[in-house]
Symmetry: C2
Subunit: 561 residues, 2 copies
């Protein structure tokens, strides 16, 4: 006998493979098995396809058809942790689920915007040797890889919209309904589960994260043991008698002053742990992977500079900088056993996703949620504009760098060559009184050629670092739509709740405190970074023009000799 | 009965309208009248056309056919002064003589070379109002114009070659034959006439020009009363109740400290006098004429700068600076009568052309003519190379100026705008601690835009003056082929003379002394001008980069506030 289900909410198909279903309609399920949150079946118009599993309630003999006040519960709890990690490159379902996912909505639909490449972290198993070659514990490689899969999609394009029907149609429920969009970041991050009181875990003292009330609102409690970490020039290492080679970075945290060696794949693994662990914290993106040319000097230099920026953001973050997995990464030495132990512990950490919020200790006085909403709205506009403008700035300074390396250099060198030519013509005349001028002209020619070189070398000193910083910030800005999403999801749920629910409020307050603390941290870091980078840039430019001036002064002196 | 002539030398037609004639051939003349040195007639092949008048001897009953040892003498002496000024734009012969002139040979056949526009001085009677409008003495206007016609062609292109047949074929004569190319600068300048002892005039003491022996060879005796002359911004003047307008330049020579007013046409008239008067002196070219837009600010500024350079070269020249006509030009006030008197005197000056050489007092010890030849050869190569290289330098710095005005400016302004954009995005965040950074970014943006303006304004300060100087020198270099030509013509004549002729040697020595003194003056002036111009350029560049540095330092300070 065909398995039937009652439709709880209207669903309009928006992608091929989906079918539209209407509230109260009875649909036929082909199987009770869910494919990543979707059922396959047939509607009353005999159209076959996919629809969201949470939009229907399976009709069973032992369940009263009226008992739907808490929404469908089909395997939701058990799946919320393990399956929230949506990554179709890891799953290998018989049905191509990826095609059927609800229509992604670009958070900031600006045409100029291109999500930074590094944003699309997937622990690929193929092209990048640096990652691909054997992990220290071969037997767990597959499991590792799967769990590493990005906890939330970190580009704009895969950010899903706030639930359409959920908010409005769940009003009939007593307190507040579930978010019906299984792909919503709010759901995937564990934000919803926490808000609905479904998170439960034992919080160790060491895991507790305090949010304090600062002058400008909630702030992460400062790290009482601030530190930094140096990254040495990477060394090329080989294994299997030279069959495999990789780059190894020496990290020396000021905490221990002991150098540890890490490969890019270790950074990558760490990144995946952090993303999974901290739903409303913007984990800085790693510098981009590059499959070929990994040992080329330019790439190595660029990646190292990127890792330095990354490390700088990690170590100065009050929460990320102190977390166990990062500390393990920074301090665990060459002891294989200790490394594996820490690695396993991190991978089995229970405080990921929804449970993360359990670790937050908010300030005593709860926030005014309306104020929170307005702050978040302001921040959203801010990030949108900043992202747009960073694109322009980055394009401009890269173009400026290119012009200096090519055009400016060429112009000065041509002028130099033409002064030399003048001197060469003058040398044909053997008048003794012209000799000084001839030499001075030759020197001037040389000086201009040198100045051309100065122009070509300069961007590396003062434009590239700005570009690197902008790349890092584009990574952060790519994280924020999801963070804002979680926050907004929580606020919407509280608004939708008709009865005042103190627990719900408290939990929303915790999410808000964490989000605003992270926003505050972002602003402080931004002001610090851009101030120091602009100072660096201008200082370098000043040195550059002084160097040119000195060269010209040298040339000028030759005319007195 | 047809007028016959015997052909003295082979002549090969090289242009349409010319006919070839062979030595000893009898040709028929259509008329005894010469057209600018050419006869029209028929050869033995019955071809009709033009051939050089000096290549034939008219057969008359009263002349022995053997009496040709001194070459043809048909009206040569009487024409050498008045008709040596070859300018087909002034003459209006019924036959288009200009087409029949012997093939011009480019002295320096470098493809890149373009004779400077200003080089082609012809006192046009048409387009340039500045010149065209009435002269102070209407009745002599035509006569003036005719005599103003360039004494020697001042571009490379119309420089004629050394006489082909003349040198070799005149060997039969007792001492030395005439140059048979009537268009040769050697002939036109009066160099040949002087060398052959045909110049004769009374030299006043005031006209005497001393060449002294300096460390580096013959030099013009220094002007014992050195002076300079300021040129004020020109004022627009009108006459005929505003119907006509012209620009008037106030000149204040240090000799009198009295300002006189001169128009461009006065400069032009003076230039023509000088060219006619001084065959082996390089008269600096005037800044180019411009028919339209004469009152536009840019043109006025450019012309004034050109005139300042011109005046600088004139007043610092030991011969030109002291000559009567220039002194008259500089010191004659508003008295119309005095002006006309000086003008007439200059126009009737007998010491032009060949007679100029009579005014030269050479050093006691005559020069070694072989050494002179080698020096002149060296100078010829030098001017050739210098001219080539000046073309490259001028192209390069003009292109550099254009890049600074357009590309460089745009790049810096774009960077400025992008820094502003960053500041504007940051302003959307209301954090108080970001305000200082936002303002600093706005200031930095402004600073870069200002630096862009600096780049655009700079070429006017330090590249344009070099370009002006190069233009002036291209004018001088355009003069030298002719000067070298006169010198070489004299040396060739002396070599061709089989008997040692003391007078010929003495006269060649005078020409050589004058030429080498002028060459020496050129070198001294060149070293002076290029040294000071390069010093000016580098000083301006230093100030420019210091200005940029100061602007960046201001911007940098804003980040501390």
């Amino acid at each position: 006998m065909a398995l039937k289900a009652r439709v709880l909410y209207d669903f309009s198909s928006e992608n091929p493979g989906e079918i539209s279903i209407a509230e109260n309609e009875l649909v036929t399920l082909y199987t009770e098995e869910e494919f990543d949150g979707w059922f396959e079946g047939e509607n009353h118009r005999r159209e076959a396809g996919l629809f969201p599993a949470t939009y229907v309630e399976i009709i069973r003999s032992d369940v009263s058809p009226n008992n739907n006040n808490n929404g469908p519960s089909t395997g939701f709890e058990s799946q919320s942790q393990s399956q929230s990690q949506y990554d179709n490159s890891v799953r290998s379902s018989a049905v191509d689920i990826s095609k059927a996912s609800p229509p992604p909505l670009a958070a900031y639909p600006t045409p100029a915007q291109q999500p930074p490449q590094r944003g699309s972290y997937q622990t690929s198993q193929g092209s990048d040797d640096d990652w691909d070659d054997d992990w220290d514990d071969q037997s767990t490689a597959t499991e590792d890889t799967a769990s590493v899969a990005s906890g939330r999609p970190s580009t704009y394009m895969v950010t899903t919209s706030l639930p359409g029907p959920g908010g409005q149609q769940a009003k009939s429920s007593a307190t507040v309904g579930r978010n019906l969009n299984r792909f919503s970041t709010f759901v995937k991050s564990g934000g919803e589960a926490f808000l609905l009181g479904e998170a439960a875990a034992f919080v160790k003292d060491g895991d507790r994260i305090c949010v304090v009330m600062g002058q400008c609102g909630p702030e992460w409690q400062k790290n009482p043991y601030p530190f930094s970490c140096a990254i040495d020039d990477p060394k090329k290492q080989t294994k299997f008698k030279g069959m495999k080679s990789y780059m190894s970075y020496g990290l020396t945290p000021t905490l221990t002053n002991v150098q540890v060696n890490r490969r890019y794949k270790h950074f990558d693994w760490l990144y995946a742990r952090l993303v999974e662990r901290f739903p409303v914290i913007s984990v800085p993106h790693l510098p981009e992977k590059q499959a070929t040319g990994r040992f080329e000097e330019d790439f190595i230099t660029k990646r190292r500079k990127g890792l330095i920026w990354w490390m700088n953001h990690m170590s100065s973050h009050p929460v990320l900088g102190r977390c166990d997995v990062f500390q393990h990464f920074l301090t665990c030495g060459a002891d294989e056993k200790a490394w594996k132990l820490g690695k396993r512990r991190a991978e089995r950490d229970e405080m990921v996703g929804a449970n993360f919020f359990l670790t937050i200790s908010p300030p005593v006085v709860p926030l005014d949620l309306q104020e929170v909403e307005s702050k978040i709205e302001g921040f959203k506009s801010f990030t949108k504009r900043l992202d747009e403008n960073i694109v322009v700035v980055n394009t401009t300074i890269n173009e400026f760098a290119r012009k200096q390396i090519t055009g400016f250099k060429k112009e000065y060198q041509r002028v130099g060559q033409s002064f030399r030519l003048l001197g060469q013509a003058f040398e044909m005349d053997q008048q003794a009184y012209s000799a000084g001028l001839n030499q001075a002209l030759a020197y001037t020619g040389e000086a201009y050629e040198t100045i051309g070189e100065y122009f070509a070398e300069q961007p590396r000193q003062d434009l590239d670092p700005i570009s690197d910083l902008l790349d890092l910030y584009r990574g952060h800005l790519a994280n924020y739509p999801d963070i804002i999403h979680v926050q907004k999801g929580a606020l919407t749920k509280v608004k939708d709740c008709q009865k005042s629910d103190a627990d719900l409020h408290n939990r929303c307050n915790i999410i808000s405190c964490a989000t605003l603390a992270e926003v505050q941290h972002f602003h402080r870091t931004r002001v610090r970074d851009f101030r120091s980078q602009m100072q660096h840039h201008l200082s370098q430019q000043i040195l550059f023009f002084q160097k040119i001036t000195a060269k010209l002064q040298e040339a000028l002196q030759k005319y007195d000799e």
